[in-house]
């Protein structure tokens, strides 16, 4: 028998399990949150500090896995001595900071943001926003009935520059036809609140593909591929990480979109089971959303260490091999 000195017997374990090196913690900071004195970890954001103490601040464009872009202004709070409201998601605590999370000024600002969004965007598949609107008494209908939707591609062709002031009788909207240009996912920019999450996930925060960015200015701003080409002509690699972070259903599995259109989408009949992707060795967690013994959508939990909720095209869309051939309508 040939001896195999290196691996015949396993080596002894280390005297203690290896661990990541600790990071030096910044000294704690004294602040006042809604009139209460608090000692919070140095370097934390106002949002982290408040949420750790059970103070709820609503967010829209914020996700723990993405770099804050401060665009939605829903998380703004009042900081004594600051001329303007500050975004809690990215502003870091400073010694002696006095923070008001629900002052009248904060509430008015949040209500206004939500009303402007709700009057111009279709929020029918964004349940989280409805709760927020109730909380702040938002009344988007005061802007009047919705203006006529844009024709396909019309908003994408708008050029920067001065626009005619509207007459105020109708609420200007981002309504436009759904973009369906591939078999995997659809883009319904009538539902887009321009939170930038998809752009961040496509870019440096997850995929590094940079297939999409924000084009245009002001009310014409929209998410666009380069030169507004259809997805199959763009740099898109169909990881669907944009779908994973979209808070409004503007980006959606085509299967879900088709089922909603057919009236067969029924979340009360759906069950979600976590398992592991059947493809490569990374071991991403797949949350399989199953309705009537059929996988109707795949998501991934953001709190799993392996990929933080991000997937690739195979993990997100490559599940149909467990379905009977020919039944796959999409």
């Amino acid at each position: 028998m040939k001896p195999e000195p290196i691996w015949f017997q396993p080596p002894p374990p280390p005297s203690r399990p290896p661990a990541a090196p600790g990071r030096p913690a910044a000294p704690p900071v004294e602040v006042v949150i809604d009139g209460q004195r608090a000692t919070v970890p140095g370097g934390s954001t106002i949002l982290d500090a408040c949420r750790a103490r059970g103070v709820d601040i609503p967010t829209l464009c914020f996700l723990p896995t993405l770099t804050p872009v401060n665009v939605c202004r829903v998380c703004v709070v009042e900081v004594t001595g600051s001329r303007v409201l500050v975004p809690a998601c990215s502003r870091r605590v400073e010694p002696g900071m006095t923070i008001s999370t629900e002052s009248e000024r904060v509430r008015v600002s949040r209500r206004m943001v939500l009303e402007l969004l709700a009057s111009s965007v279709d929020l029918s598949t964004a349940p989280g926003l409805h709760d927020m609107m109730t909380r702040y008494g938002a009344q988007p209908e005061r802007y009047g009935p919705a203006a006529v939707p844009a024709a396909a591609g019309a908003r994408d062709r708008r050029e920067p520059g001065h626009h005619q002031a509207p007459d105020g009788a109708r609420a200007e909207t981002v309504a436009q036809p759904v973009k369906v240009d591939n078999d995997l996912y659809i883009r319904d920019y009538s539902k887009c609140v321009l939170c930038y999450k998809c752009v961040e996930a496509c870019g440096v925060d997850a995929q590094n593909t940079f297939a999409i960015a924000v084009a245009g200015r002001g009310f014409d701003a929209r998410i666009s591929t380069e030169a507004d080409v259809p997805l199959p002509d763009s740099a898109c690699v169909y990881c669907g990480n944009c779908i994973g972070v979209c808070p409004t259903g503007a980006l959606m599995f085509k299967r879900e979109h088709d089922m909603r259109a057919a009236g067969t989408w029924d979340e009360s009949k759906q069950r979600t089971t976590d398992t592991i992707c059947p493809y490569c060795g990374v071991g991403c967690t797949l949350s399989l959303h199953v309705q009537d013994n059929r996988i109707v959508k795949v998501t991934s939990p953001a709190d799993v260490s392996v990929t933080g909720g991000h997937l690739c095209i195979k993990g997100r869309f490559g599940f149909t091999f467990v379905e009977p051939p020919g039944k796959d309508s999409d």
């Binding site: 080596p11 661990a19 169909y238 089971t273 592991i276 493809y279 399989l288 490559g318 009977p324």
Partner: protein
Amino acid sequence: MQWAELWASLDVGSDIALANAIGREIIAAGLEHREFIENATTGFDDYRRGVEPYTLAYAERETGVPADVIRTMAHEYARAPRAMICWTLGITEHHNAVDNVLALVNLSLLTGHVGRYGSGLNPLRGQNNVQGGGDMGALPDRLPGFQHVENDEFRSKFDRAWGVAVPPERGWHLSQMFEAMERGDLRALYVIGENPLQSEADQNHARHLLEGLDFLVAQDLFLTKTAELAHVVLPASAAWCESEGTVTNSERRVQRVRKAIEAPAGSRDDLTILFDLARRLGRNWGRPDAETIWNEVRRLSPMHAGMSYARLEKHGGLQWPCYDEEHPGELFLHSRLWERPLRGPRVAFVPVEHDPPVDRLDAEFPLRLTTGRRLDEYNTGVQSSAYHSPLRRGESLDVSPEDADRYGLSEGEVVRVRSRRGAVEVPVRLDEGLRPGLTFMTLHFPDDVATNVLTIDATDPKSGTAEFKATAIRIERLGV
């Protein structure tokens, strides 16, 4: 490559020449980690002598990588506070696969880039449970937990637990099985979840051997080409969504897979099939239950002992080794090498020599073909062909623009690709990412283009892996 600071675009199969030259340069510049070498390794002097002939000039000639790029790589790697070497099948699908890996191991020993947070050697696994398969003893010489079958102490533990005498000799790996078929020593084969007819190198030869078997059983989700040949097909359910169990990913993390949907009528999960088979063979193993079997693994494999289902659930998986229910699992391996005095045996440098691919390039077969995967596809396409990928464009022979010019090829033109073993017809695609002389194909569409008709079954004597990465080909224009 788009994101790399340095791209060493080497000739396929010249990895050892490159690694040894890096090692030589590190030593020449005095950048080796002397404390680590002295206290945790053996054989450094032999290694130093072994890499002495691998000068930068020699390596540039053998690998095609400019000498200054190799020099920069050597210095940056040695000086980096943390450095990791990651590889996939480009290192291991060669006739000298194990030597390729050893050449990289030598570099990590030379620089102390092993056993520390953020440093190390990382063979990235290509399938969701290829790590777990080996961990569970699906290797010819190992019982579960990498316990060597020829070690009496380990084997007798399994003898007692299972009430049978485990054969004391190692078995055959895949390539040895095909050799045994050729000799007539292997007459029956039971294939679970693999499609060797289309995934083996030198496909015409593999088909001939499989067709010659007395008895072939295929257990699979699909009637694969291998299953079509089988005498008995056992329809299986999908392990990842139609049954319970665990898989182990590339970072040694044991993870739970769960049943989300009911399997199609007539198919059964792998456990039930195996339990039923045991029953027909006269052994009653009781009720097939994934957790019961996992707990048996925990009793017999010390490195899995601490991983109860409850803990796997709670921690989102655990990385082996995990010796008891208090153990957090090991974030990285080999940290013992940094304890002073050293815990356990030293690690040996193993000098290795450059040996170019078996399928030599010559005037008749002047181009190198290497095979691999594309993002949206997977292996022989059994799983991935079902979904409608917008990225899918079918099989192609990818060539550099320079070679396209040289042979007068245009995008989309169907050509005949011939190797010393066979020929296939396939459309040409231009790829600026390829260097002149190098071409690329996949095995994703074997029913359209049987790429493995071309590949060589020259295998590594230690690992049994075939040299899928290095085939000598020529391109024949049709109708010219």
